[in-house]
Subunit: 454 residues, 2 copies
């Protein structure tokens, strides 16, 4: 039995829904179908979820939002019309949306979640109606009915343990289940949404709860690439990678599937297959617990911008018990999380995401470090990028760092930082943002392009 999730672009039009139907129909194992809200049909298009957010924001300000609501309804109508579904489903969706919009806005965050969730919820009803029209035994299942219980945290709901028991019974029901992604219900019956990649989270929870054999995640790419295709043209596709590799790559900007969304499936030991709705015969990328290590040491290279480094120098720092702790305490008082702390004998650098600094906080923190820790020197370097070179094969391969650093040196990239030694499946390089693309290209050439020639 498979749990299958379709993303927004896979459900953006009637034509896309036909593809989805054919995919589901082609494999009797595809039983639980998780749907997103309709996404973009073309790059300038609006996602239904974004329209809904704008809609909710207007209502929270006490303004009318009928125009935006109509724009949302128009998306569903166009799909229904394309598929010749008739008026019933359209009326049902209209009534649902306006009922939600007329509800209490006293708690704006709760109201926002209620409105946002309608995108997936109504789309699941629409998809179910279409499947039924096609003569398939399919039905919309509401998360409340199914027992998808979550914590009452708006925009950041966490699944509750008892939800897994409740959801197991889904696998024993007849026919195909169409399940809306992105949200669940609190114990007192209110809607709360997951954080980003919310429909992926729902699919992952259902796959884990229903003990699926596979969690298929349909999106609009053929596979996860070994490197960002905006940096390297037509990069190698990854056929199989481990959860660990996926996690390390996601950290630095791999966005096909956010790794945290996979945790419930990962914990239940269920493999994930990423596939393309628009090219379902492509094998896609499989995410597994363990893999054969036959593809060389490196499976992927990811990079992300927007980091900075706070350098703190103080003579005899390494003798001073508590220095590092005091430094981190200052950061913690500002709610800052940090990524890495490379250190010398008398100095330490803190690497963190620079978007965490709000007005003036940066100067304040530097000044506090200087004075409270009696540092000799405190300075900050902006505009750094982190590059992750990832692969389970690295563990057995003694020369990977030599190859990586040689490739970077040849490309005249200065390594501001190297972090290697804690994770066994990755090495991290800090470079200046202007060098990022050149560095990634050089690493790709070393580990992938050269190998292809052989």
């Amino acid at each position: 039995m498979k749990v299958v999730k379709f993303g927004g672009s896979s459900l953006a039009s009637g034509k896309q829904l036909e593809k989805v139907f054919n995919i589901v129909n082609a494999d009797p194992e595809r039983k639980i179908i998780v749907v997103s809200a309709p996404g973009k049909r073309f790059s300038a298009d609006n996602k239904v979820t974004d329209l809904l957010i704008a809609c909710a924001e207007k209502r929270i300000l006490g303004e009318a939002a009928d125009d935006l609501a109509e724009a949302v309804l128009d998306r569903y109508s166009q799909i229904a019309d394309e598929l010749e579904l008739g008026l019933d489903i359209k009326d049902m969706i209209r009534e649902d949306l306006f009922t939600r919009l007329s509800s209490d806005t006293d708690d704006p965050e709760v109201f926002m979640d209620l409105i946002k969730a309608s995108g997936e919820d109504n789309n699941a009803k629409l998809v179910a109606a279409y499947f039924q029209q096609q003569g398939v035994e399919a039905r919309y299942v509401n998360p409340k009915e199914a027992g998808l219980l979550v914590s009452p945290e708006p925009g950041n709901a966490q699944v509750l343990p008892e939800a897994y028991e409740n959801l197991y019974s889904l696998r024993e029901q007849d026919g195909i289940i169409i399940f809306p992604g992105f949200f669940g219900y609190s114990r007192d019956g209110q809607v709360f949404t997951f954080s980003r990649s919310g429909s992926d989270v729902t699919g992952s929870i259902l796959a884990g709860a229903a003990k699926a054999d596979l969690y298929e995640n349909f999106t609009d790419v053929d596979a996860v690439y070994s490197v960002n295709p905006f940096i390297v043209e037509s990069p190698k596709e990854i056929k199989e990678l481990t959860y660990r590799e996926m996690r390390e790559l996601s950290y630095a900007g791999f966005t096909v599937l956010h790794d945290e969304a996979l945790v419930p499936a990962f914990r239940a030991g269920i493999p994930v297959q990423i596939k393309n709705t628009n090219n379902p015969s492509a094998p896609g990328t499989r995410i597994v617990n363990e893999r054969d290590n036959t593809n060389g040491p490196v499976i992927g290279i990811a990079s992300d911008q927007g980091f900075c480094s706070i350098y703190v120098g103080k003579y005899l720092m390494n003798r001073e018990v508590g220095f590092g702790r005091k430094l981190l305490t200052i950061l913690e008082e500002y709610g800052l999380s940090y990524e890495h702390t490379p250190s010398g004998i008398d100095d330490i650098s803190i690497i963190l995401r620079e978007n965490q600094f709000t007005n003036g906080v940066e100067e304040e923190i530097l000044s506090r470090i200087q004075h409270e820790l009696h540092a000799d020197e405190v300075k900050i370097q902006h505009s750094l990028s982190l590059i992750m070179v990832v692969g389970e094969g690295m563990r057995q391969n003694i020369g990977t760092m030599a190859r990586a650093s040689k490739a970077l040196a040849k490309a005249k990239v200065n390594m501001e930082m190297i972090n290697q030694g804690s994770s066994e499946v990755s090495m991290m390089f800090g470079v200046q943002a202007v060098d990022e693309k050149r560095a990634v290209q050089a690493l790709y050439n070393e580990f992938f392009a050269a190998a292809a020639v052989v």
Copy 2:
């Protein structure tokens, strides 16, 4: 004007004192002479300081220590006899030592410092007597008379700021000044010794205070080597290195001169020349604030054993504000200082010296980390060595890491850790202790032996 310090092996016998006299006499700039206690004449010999410590320990236990005191006095007598100095100086030293030994032992640490300091103090008197006998204008100067004021911390005295003003006048006195190393006086007139390399500290303070042009430090090697001669045979000598390089190298086991001893000279901007009493025509090694960078990226390689790594893994660690701080707080509660903390996304490793663990503390700490931080995995790796590759030239040299890691890979050394990015003049590798020598040899071959061929 030069401040010149002679180490224990340079003053171990009458023959050695003749060399010292000739060295001082050869250069009229050599004005302030700092002396250690007599050191070893051969490898199984006792240092006078060690005899004095044993002597003090016996007295603290309330036992007689006359045999050990006589062994100390015998060393001075032999030197005096060799140099035909007569009875006066021998009597003076005998009286001084027994006066000290009969003093109050109520505060054992204070008593210990008083006894230890006699080694240098009486040797300075002896050297002064010898210089005078040779017809040179020279006199013993006591640190109390000269105003070398220190904090009242037994075995760890710190020089007080006003000492520098007091000591400046030494440069204006006539003749050669023979000054005992290793100790100063508290404001209330008690003797307190510096920590290790105490005579180097005294020389460094006098050089700084008297605004010397050069601080010459005479020991028993021709130069500082680029690598440990027990690992690489006849390694390259270092002609010139910066304080920063010296500090980084000292950290990992370079023992010719402890870097902390150099701080007063460093702060005053005075260069240090390390020279060999037994081969004074050898140019030695010069330690400076800045140097021309004409010798390739690496100036030295040092390594040290006895480290361990505590690995802590926890999913989503990098999102958890305060995780690192909590981890370091646990270590701090046990008074442990750590060296480095390489980190991945969901894991962090703490590198620390394993001799800090006393019975059972290791298990206790691992268990506390596991439970208090809700870690997924906590484990410890023992018997690690750290290797420092040091050089100011690294800053401009983009390919140094590539060369180093390639050399290590070729030597089949697995890098457990790389720490690079905070210090601009070093990179650090963590390897298993069994691989240390092979790693150092490989790095030496890459950065020194190969260059010699070119």
